[in-house]
């Protein structure tokens, strides 16, 4: 299973990747913003996207909308990991059809729970 980690902060990408590796997930691709993520989606067979919201060039929300609008990737699991925790933000994320949402800072345990929950829901 190949994961795409999208965040403009190299520190955050490293933290997420470290956590994924501790869960035994080794096949990981990185992208530094939404645009970069879209190009990585075209060149790699991605199974799961973990994205930040606030990023230059293309935000995580716009990336989600672009993915959902695409016939090829519309069912791709997307987990949003962000500092944004206002009601308005959550509603926007729900409307954009993000599968789940984590507010930073998060524990690796929470990340694992969300990934597992999304994958389980996808199996149904």
């Amino acid at each position: 299973m190949k994961f795409l980690v999208v965040d403009d902060s190299p520190t955050m990408r490293r933290i997420v990747i470290n956590a994924l590796k501790s869960f035994g997930i080794e096949d990981i691709v990185e992208a530094e913003d939404g645009q970069d993520a879209l190009s990585k989606l075209q060149t790699h067979k991605i199974d799961f996207v973990i994205t930040d919201w606030n990023m230059p060039n293309m935000s995580g929300l716009d990336l989600t909308k672009a993915i959902r609008a695409s016939e090829q990737w519309k069912n791709l699991p997307i987990l949003m990991v962000t500092t944004r925790g206002l009601k308005e933000d959550i509603i926007q994320a729900l409307q954009a059809k993000v599968n789940n949402y984590i507010v930073k800072p998060f524990t690796p345990q929470v990340l694992k729970e969300k990934i597992t929950a999304i994958l389980k829901a996808g199996e149904k």
């Binding site: 403009d8 800072p105 524990t107």
Partner: protein
């Protein structure tokens, strides 16, 4: 009339004439001055408003920077505490390992004694006396073997503890992303203030003021950050009540999932309709979530 009086009158008249001539010369200057004051008044008002506006941003900037300092200090201390704990646990692990090594030596002795007995048994020199002689020693050494399991379990527990500590460090390190967003927000505000002040200064056309504007531009430019950072202006707020916020978000997502799977209506329209009544600036509460989803049902 006397000659003197006439001369005096003429002198006064000449003085009056000179005064009128001066007046004629001064009036255009005064008119110009009035016009200048009239023109500069809105500009001064604009400067006043701008200064007030920018000054009002300053406490917010310093508050945000103060929060950044507080957050980094907290995270650094948290990491240092965890590292102290890790060192302590490593010391325990190291001493347990030493005990384990001595237990292993006991295990080696046990098998050596045991093998000697087996050897005697195989070559026919084995006697009950040999068994009696070695039995108590073998029993004592077998206690070391039994303690190995306890030591392994204790080391496993300690390794799990250190793993949890590493997770806590990862959690604390996320403050770097959060504070960098906050600093980017402050930088953005400083840029806005500078742009506003520069545009005001550039309205003055006087040579001296133009010079000042140029100097200002050269010396007060807000430095760009080392990379473009898209920011959440309230990023540091995410450190407050993080667990409670996550809990409420989880409930919202769970209910949305139930709603999606149990209803055949269009979920996008439903969410959009139900969100109209919500105040977007509020933090999420369970009541709001219920309201949101009751409208959908």
């Amino acid at each position: 009339m006397k000659d003197m009086d006439i001369k005096g009158l003429i002198k006064k008249a000449e003085e009056l004439r000179a005064l009128f001539i001066l007046g004629q010369r001064v009036v255009p200057f005064l008119e110009e001055l009035f016009a200048f004051v009239g023109e500069i008044q809105p500009l001064l008002e604009e400067i006043n408003t701008s200064i007030q506006e920018n000054l009002s941003k300053m406490p917010n900037l310093s508050k945000q920077l103060s929060k950044v300092t507080e957050a980094t200090e907290l995270a650094t201390n948290e990491i240092l505490d965890i590292v102290d704990g890790v060192f302590y646990k490593l010391d325990i692990l190291s001493s347990t390992l030493k005990e384990f090594e001595s237990s292993q030596l006991g295990l080696k002795d046990f098998f050596e004694d045991f093998n000697k007995l087996v050897g005697k048994f195989n070559n026919g020199s084995f006697s009950i006396d040999d068994l009696k002689l070695n039995l108590s020693s073998l029993q004592a050494k077998s206690k070391d073997i039994l303690s190995v399991e306890t030591k392994i379990n204790s080391m496993k527990e300690m390794i799990d503890n250190i793993r949890n500590d590493s997770s806590s460090i990862m959690l604390a390190l996320q403050v770097q992303d959060i504070t960098s967003q906050q600093i980017a927000a402050v930088n953005h505000l400083l840029n806005t203030v500078q742009t506003r002040l520069n545009s005001l200064i550039s309205k003055f056309q006087s040579g001296d003021i133009t010079k000042v504007a140029t100097v200002q531009e050269q010396t007060t430019n807000v430095t760009e950050l080392h990379r473009v950072i898209a920011f959440d202006p309230d990023a540091v707020e995410s450190l407050i009540d993080n667990a409670a916020r996550q809990d409420e978000i989880d409930k919202l997502f769970e209910q949305q999932t139930i709603e999606d799977t149990s209803s055949s209506k269009e979920p996008d329209n439903k969410t959009a309709q139900s969100t109209e009544t919500l105040d977007s600036e509020e933090k999420i509460s369970q009541d709001d979530i219920d309201k949101l989803f009751n409208q959908n049902s």
